[in-house]
């Protein structure tokens, strides 16, 4: 559904995007993760045909974002990270205005507005001035706005930023509902635990380079799972550290909250070798388990080193 090939965007000598590539199949929710200034918004703006790439190609359902802008705009619903609303317009009028901009027939617009307000849970706010809404409610209205022409693809730039926990949960539920309606969604966010629950795919971008991309499970497994161990020993923690530290496969070992956490290079066989080394030295190990750092850990690793 969405294909990005070697996308590059330069501003003078600075590369905001450096040959970024990824694909998002139909009906997937792709989480786009990266620190501030990593290139997330630039990528989304190029996909929304609002910015010309310096090089590379991007396609939305086969439409080239640089050549078929009108087709692209018909297929996407775009929600920017920062957006404003008009004064003196009610929520209903605001959505009706954008429905008219998307050339929806006048006789259908009222139903579209009512359906979208029901979807985002704002039916009772239809006659309230949109400028007087809280940020969370404005985010919902903006999401509804991006759906007025029933696009197949949603590009959502930080839709949950600035929302309180309840509003974030509600936004997540709405997005799940949209996925159930068959939408393909790209969502950029800093709130990593929620992306783990929401997204089926993920891309981690840093300094304009895509560090990792794939299914959430694959990326987490590739970047974090099995590379850190939490070891609990009985009474001999210092001795255990003295044994672990010189091992070639162990990068770093330290005492954390009464246990030992050890970073290592290798796979499950390497982990078992570490266990053998401890027990062989007479250390009594009461627990030995890999630490699953989750998306947050994967993100930290991906953005702190060259993953390639």
């Amino acid at each position: 559904m969405i294909a990005v090939e070697q996308l590059t965007k330069t501003y003078g000598s600075r590369a905001a995007l450096d040959h970024v590539s990824f694909e998002v199949p139909e009906r997937e929710i792709f989480g786009f993760v990266g620190p501030n200034g990593a290139g997330k918004t630039t990528t989304l703006r190029i996909l929304a045909a609002l910015l010309e790439p310096s090089d590379g190609r991007a396609y939305i359902d086969g439409a080239d974002v640089t050549k078929d802008r009108e087709k692209v705009h018909a297929k996407i619903g775009y929600m920017p990270d920062f957006f404003g609303v008009y004064d003196q317009l009610t929520v209903g009028e605001y959505l009706d205005f954008y429905a008219a901009c998307y050339r929806q027939p006048k006789r259908r617009r009222q139903k579209i507005v009512d359906d979208l307000l029901a979807l985002v849970g704002m039916t009772e706010r239809k006659h309230q001035l949109v400028d007087t809404l809280s940020r969370g409610l404005k985010q919902r209205v903006c999401l509804a706005r991006s759906l007025v022409h029933d696009p197949a693809v949603l590009l959502l730039d930080e839709p949950a930023s600035g929302l309180d926990p309840r509003a974030r949960v509600e936004m997540r539920e709405i997005l799940k509902e949209l996925q159930g309606m068959g939408k393909t969604i790209i969502i950029s966010s800093h709130i990593l635990p929620e992306l783990t629950e929401l997204c089926t795919m993920i891309g981690i971008i840093d300094h304009g380079r895509m560090r990792a991309t794939g299914s959430v499970r694959d990326v987490i497994a590739r970047l974090s799972s099995g590379r850190r161990l939490r070891i609990t020993v009985i009474d001999e923690r210092d001795a255990a550290l003295e044994i672990l530290t010189p091992l070639a496969s162990v990068r770093h070992a330290e005492a954390v909250n009464g246990a030992i956490e050890a970073e290592y290079d290798g796979d499950e066989r390497t982990a078992s070798d570490i266990l053998v080394a401890l027990t062989g030295a007479g250390i009594r190990v009461s627990s030995f388990a890999p630490v699953d750092g989750g998306l947050e850990d994967a993100f930290m690793r991906a953005t702190s080193e060259d993953v390639g």
Partner: protein, 349 residues
């Protein structure tokens, strides 16, 4: 809805009407406009009456013509203040409010965005012009002004407002900040109205000593509505404007433009020549009224009436401003002046 009606009436127009008329500013602006125009009409009439009473020289015909001249010039000046304020924030305001991207991802074309903004702003100006008609109708109580003069004057005024609107939108498209765009739009209005008018004084046309007709002022002075409006009101060219005569004199010997000239309501110009023949007061070549203003005697628009030339020149400015706006506004341009080479890949991603 076909393409033409879609361009003329797009959702932006309806939205702008709705939001504009819901604020207190619009009725306030309308009220202030009427009060100022009515106030100046009353002040001018009072001043004219006092002058006429004291000098026993006034006639009702003069009242009407002079009242009309002051009113129409004052109306243009008012619109020169109002129109940039209405249009200079139209596009830059969308940028500042961060709503412009939301419009760019809709099927509405940049041209329609510009046109919608213009139409909404200029409709308000048109409303101001319409509600000023009753004040201008006072002129007919005194006579001296025909209906066609009124129509031509309003046409020039409306065209000037349109031009100022196009310039305002062009600056609003060019500059990201409304404040900068507003300052630039007022600068543009000053150049259009006062600058082009003053050009005639600073860089007048050199008159040929052997010529028998007065040359017309430089064509660029017609961009300003001041001279066309004066010619409509008096049915004659403005004496001593935009022309320099040989030997520092004020006029050509025997021509219609010498000395201290004054134009009567019937269109006949009287001049007291200070040129070669100096001293004698004589009625020189009369410029006969041609309905709606005098004819341009020389130059690019020879044979045209001043107001016609002014409208044509302003239409050209509008087209340039519109083309410029439509070219600058889109976030992504269809063509590039130069293509920057992309940096070579550092590594695969």
């Amino acid at each position: 809805m076909n393409a033409v009606s879609r361009a003329l009436w797009n959702p932006i127009v309806a939205k702008e009407y709705r939001t504009r008329m819901r604020t207190w500013r619009s009725p306030f602006a309308i009220t202030l406009y009427i009060v100022l125009l009515g106030g100046i009409a009353w002040a001018i009439f009072t001043a004219l009456s006092l002058t006429a009473t004291s000098q026993f020289g006034g006639s009702p015909t003069n009242y009407g013509q002079e009242l009309f001249t002051f009113l129409i010039l004052f109306q243009v000046a008012l619109l020169a203040f109002i129109t940039p304020a209405l249009t200079a924030g139209s596009i830059s305001g969308e940028r500042e409010r961060q709503t412009i991207d939301l419009l760019f991802v809709t099927p509405i074309r940049p041209f329609s965005i510009i046109w919608g903004k213009l139409l909404a702003s200029l409709s308000f100006v048109a409303l101001l012009l319409v509600i000023s008609v009753p004040i201008f109708s006072l002129v007919f109580l005194f006579g001296g002004i025909e209906l066609d003069q009124m129509v031509y004057s309003f046409a020039v005024t409306a065209m000037t407002a349109l031009t100022l609107g196009f310039i305002g939108v062009a600056f609003s498209t060019l500059f990201r900040r409304t404040l900068v765009a507003t300052v630039a739009a007022y600068g543009g209005a000053f150049v259009l109205l006062a600058g082009c008018y003053l050009y005639g004084f600073l860089f007048p046309v050199e008159a040929d000593p052997n010529a028998t007709t007065t040359p017309a002022p430089p064509a660029i002075t017609l961009v300003s509505p001041v001279i066309p409006l004066l010619t409509i009101a008096t049915n004659a060219p403005v004496p001593l404007y935009g022309v320099r005569y040989p030997n520092g004199g004020y006029g050509l010997a025997g021509s219609s433009a010498g000395g201290n000239c004054s134009t009567q309501p019937n269109g006949v110009t009287f001049c007291s020549s200070t040129g070669v023949k100096g001293g004698s007061v004589q009625q020189l070549t009369a410029v006969q009224p041609t309905g709606g203003g005098a004819t341009i005697s020389t130059g690019l628009f020879q044979g045209w009436q001043y107001w016609q030339a002014s409208i044509v020149m302003q239409v050209m400015i509008c087209l340039v401003a519109l083309g410029f706006s439509a070219l600058v506004l889109p976030p992504v341009h269809r063509f590039r002046l130069r293509r920057r080479p992309a940096p070579s890949p550092v590594h695969g991603s």
